[in-house]
């Protein structure tokens, strides 16, 4: 039995920051050998994000610990002739090539799809750019949070009643697009297995983001309606919100779908009178009087912790859960029972990272390598895979080709 579905698959990952490494490690988690190309001239910004794993190693942040797992990091300066020659050698043996430079950049390095295809005819190459390879905004520079603003996610994000969005300020599209890229590559591998043909895949993160909007975009299509932030409210459920609990920054979510659940909530709050209160007589009424109802619910939740509220309501079959902080999730019995946090032996010490977000019955497999350090696999990749001698590698390091 094969241990991993993608054994014997080689991926060259020129991509950096977040989405492209996520794509790489998703394939790596499934057994592919994924080589991550980096340069000290412009280190991957993920490496800088504090906190650092070790004060003597400023380029080994804990963000990288999660994102760069199952990748083989090598240094390579693609602006040098020798560096490009090595890149071509790598591509010759690659099944998959990943890049997320600004469109046009790969051509400068001699690594555009036509060039790559001439080196390896059945290669699958994927570009994860901001806006796709063509069109008037193709060269736009973005971070994940810009993608979510451009892509129509942020405009609906915010407190109810505020027209000003409370933008994520984070980068939700990055992990999403990395995973989507993995789906694209896997599907293309399936096609290659059937036909022997590789191909080029143009993934525009902006477009991909706009495919995840659901209701609001269809409301515009059907009715020309522009929706505004709904806070934590829902169109079909009420109450539906996040309520303050006892303790510092302690919050619980509650979502009520049916009349039975509403009565269950009233009982839990020891307010059976509310079950007959016409202000809250059905979902529509509760939505109309949501603020008032929130006040009543908060008076109850604020006397308990989010865990207490959750236990009580879930026992009554009502959807409720704490808004977990990172620390709480780390200690949570469910995540721990399912082995979601994985301890790895990193060269700089033990580290715990998040695991693969699904469980397999037959080939549990799992994360094989802790996050790669900068250039950690230079000897392995350039020596064992590409057949360069120790002396050649030393020389290339000295010449800052491997830099």
């Amino acid at each position: 039995m094969t241990k991993f579905p993608l054994e014997n698959l080689r991926v060259i990952n020129f991509g950096w920051v977040w989405a492209a490494p996520v794509l790489g490690h998703t394939l790596g988690d499934m057994g592919a050998q994924v080589i991550k190309i980096e340069t000290r001239k412009r280190p991957d910004v993920i490496r800088f994000l504090p906190p650092s794993i070790h004060e003597d190693y400023p380029l080994e942040s804990l963000y990288a610990a999660n994102t760069f797992r199952d990748l083989l990091g090598v240094t390579l300066d693609l602006t040098t002739d020798k560096g490009q020659e090595l890149a071509r050698d790598m591509v010759r043996s690659a099944d998959v090539v990943i890049e997320n430079f600004t469109p046009g950049t790969v051509k400068r390095y001699g690594l555009d799809y036509d060039a790559v295809k001439s080196l390896r005819p059945d290669v699958i190459m994927i570009s994860l750019s901001a806006a796709g390879q063509d069109g008037p905004s193709a060269k736009i520079a973005t971070y994940g949070n810009i993608i979510s603003c451009l892509g129509g996610l942020d405009v609906h994000q915010g407190y109810i009643g505020d027209s000003r969005p409370t933008t994520y300020g984070t980068s939700i599209p990055d992990p999403m697009m990395g995973i989507l890229g993995a789906f694209a590559v896997l599907s293309a591998l399936r096609y290659r297995a059937r036909t022997g043909k590789g191909q080029y895949i143009d993934l525009s993160q902006w477009e991909a983001c706009a495919t995840t909007l659901g209701g609001p975009i269809m409301d515009y299509v059907f009715n020309g309606r522009i929706q505004y932030p709904k806070g934590n409210r829902d169109d079909l459920m009420a109450p539906h919100g996040v309520y303050r609990c006892k303790g510092k920054d302690n919050w619980v979510t509650i979502a009520v779908k049916t009349e039975d659940e509403w009565r269950g909530l009233c009982d839990a709050m020891e307010r059976p009178d509310l079950a007959d209160d016409e202000r809250f007589g059905d979902t529509y009424s509760r939505q109309t009087n949501h603020d008032e109802m929130d006040g009543i619910i908060t008076r109850w939740t604020s006397t308990l912790t989010h865990r207490q509220v959750t236990r009580q309501l879930q026992r009554a079959g009502i959807a409720a859960f704490p808004a977990l902080s990172a620390k709480e999730a780390f200690d949570d019995p469910h995540f721990n029972a399912r082995g979601d946090w994985v301890e790895m032996d990193h060269p700089l010490g033990k580290e715990v990272i998040y695991g693969i977000p699904w469980k397999l019955s037959k080939t549990p497999g799992g994360i094989q390598r802790p996050a790669t350090m900068m250039g950690q696999y230079n000897r392995f990749v350039y020596g064992e895979i590409l057949g360069r001698t120790e002396a050649e590698i030393d020389a290339m390091e000295a010449d800052k080709v491997l830099y």
Partner: protein, 402 residues
């Protein structure tokens, strides 16, 4: 035309958003997806809307129409013995089975993984659930709100001192469907290689916890450093440069500006190049957050007199961006030139524009297609694949099986 997944057949027992999005990805890239729906009512998304002209109609729900393109709808009542037999007979004909029932329901009906594997040893069953197939919270009630709360994303979304915010829309569920599709295809690769089937247990909350956002992704970083997760205020910034959402001439724009190298670009942009080297704002003062208000006073007249489209052009260099509405997306010249939106006709809803491909494989294009009517493919699948006669189908329909 040949597509990426032309040789893959999928039995889809999911409904609502996450599972159907997973199946949609597979269908839009070529897999044959047989969607089993409950007779009479069908997928719950048929009732979610939005509806054209706000008139509810089970064949016109926007969420359903967008999420079920290229699938075949077969109505089967799994609470009947014959309904379950139909399902048993379909299992040997498919490669992947997707389901999103509560843990235990499939087994109760005789379709636990071991049952299904006896019928077809190399099948991949992908279960999409709230909390997974086992673990202390397995039977907890969940909605999207709760998935986001458990996944840590919520605790760091919103502003300090106010309640944490849910992620808008249903992006969390789309992400879940996307991840489940990766898991399903990965497992399918494995089963193709060794002929051994696989049960993929995908839980929405684990998908969230492993990838929600920058704060969530640093879950461990936070745990190591003992730092709590936090919500950012609107104006919390890293330098004197603008940060967060600002009003502009026709809506809102967002700035994530932080780098000192961007200061001169910013000064030229707002027509004050003379400030480029002004020691009041450069050097050590660049990080003096007490100056933020002063800078905003200089910046607001400029930003308020510029429209989103201009901001897209002028502010890109300093990580400024319009916050696009749905109207903006439809009008966007880049989207138009790349023909992102596609017009699809539907027998009930008529021709409408829908979001197009999430990625574009050059040799095997994404399939433009429409969502099925409820039970539209009963005859094709039940007669074509299982050999029922048309008379059988009439009978089965009257008996409430299909």
């Amino acid at each position: 035309m040949e597509s990426l997944l032309s040789d893959v057949t999928v039995l889809d027992l999911t409904q609502a958003v996450a599972g159907p999005y997973c199946a949609k990805l597979l269908a839009d890239y070529g897999a044959e997806v047989i969607k089993i729906e409950r007779p009479g009512t069908g997928d719950v998304a048929r009732r979610i809307g939005p509806f054209p002209n706000d008139v509810p109609h089970s064949e016109k729900s926007g969420v359903f129409l967008a999420l079920n393109t290229n699938k075949k709808s077969v109505t089967v009542n799994l609470k009947t013995e014959t309904g379950r037999r139909i399902l048993r007979d379909l299992v040997p004909q498919v490669d992947i089975l997707l389901e999103s029932y509560r843990p235990g329901v499939m087994a109760k009906w005789g379709f636990g993984f071991d049952d299904v594997r006896r019928i077809k040893p190399d099948i991949v069953v992908t279960s999409i659930s709230s909390f997974g197939q086992w673990g202390p919270y397995r039977d907890y009630e969940m909605t999207e709100l709760i998935a986001y709360a458990m996944g840590v994303g919520m605790h760091c979304t919103g502003v300090p001192d106010r309640e944490p915010l849910k992620l808008a829309g249903t992006a969390t569920l789309f992400q879940a469907g996307n991840t489940a599709a990766v898991a399903a295809i990965g497992a399918y690769f494995g089963s193709q290689a060794d002929g051994v089937g696989q049960h993929v247990d995908y839980s929405i909350m684990e998908g969230q916890a492993s990838s929600v956002d920058r704060n969530g992704a640093s879950l461990m970083a936070m745990a190591y450093a003992g730092e709590p997760t936090f919500r950012r205020a609107f104006g919390r910034r890293f330098s004197v440069l603008p940060f967060g959402a600002y009003p502009c001439a026709d809506g809102y724009a967002h700035f994530t500006s932080a780098q000192q190298a961007w200061w001169p670009i910013f000064c030229s942009m707002i027509g004050m190049p003379e400030l480029s080297e002004d020691p009041r704002y450069t050097g050590e003062n660049f990080q003096n957050l007490d100056l933020a208000e002063e800078i905003d006073e200089l910046f607001l007249p400029w930003i308020l007199s510029h429209a989103k489209r201009e901001i897209m052009e002028l502010c890109n260099e300093i990580a400024g961006s319009p916050i696009n509405t749905m109207e903006d997306l439809f009008a966007d010249p880049h989207f138009r030139q790349r023909e992102f939106f596609v017009e699809v006709d539907h027998p009930a809803a008529g021709p409408m524009e829908y979001p197009g491909p999430p990625f574009r494989p050059a040799a095997t294009p994404w399939k433009k297609g429409r969502a099925p009517l409820l039970g539209e493919h009963n005859e094709e699948v039940l007669t074509g694949r299982l050999g029922f006669t048309r008379t059988d189908l009439v009978k089965l329909a009257r008996m409430g099986v299909i």
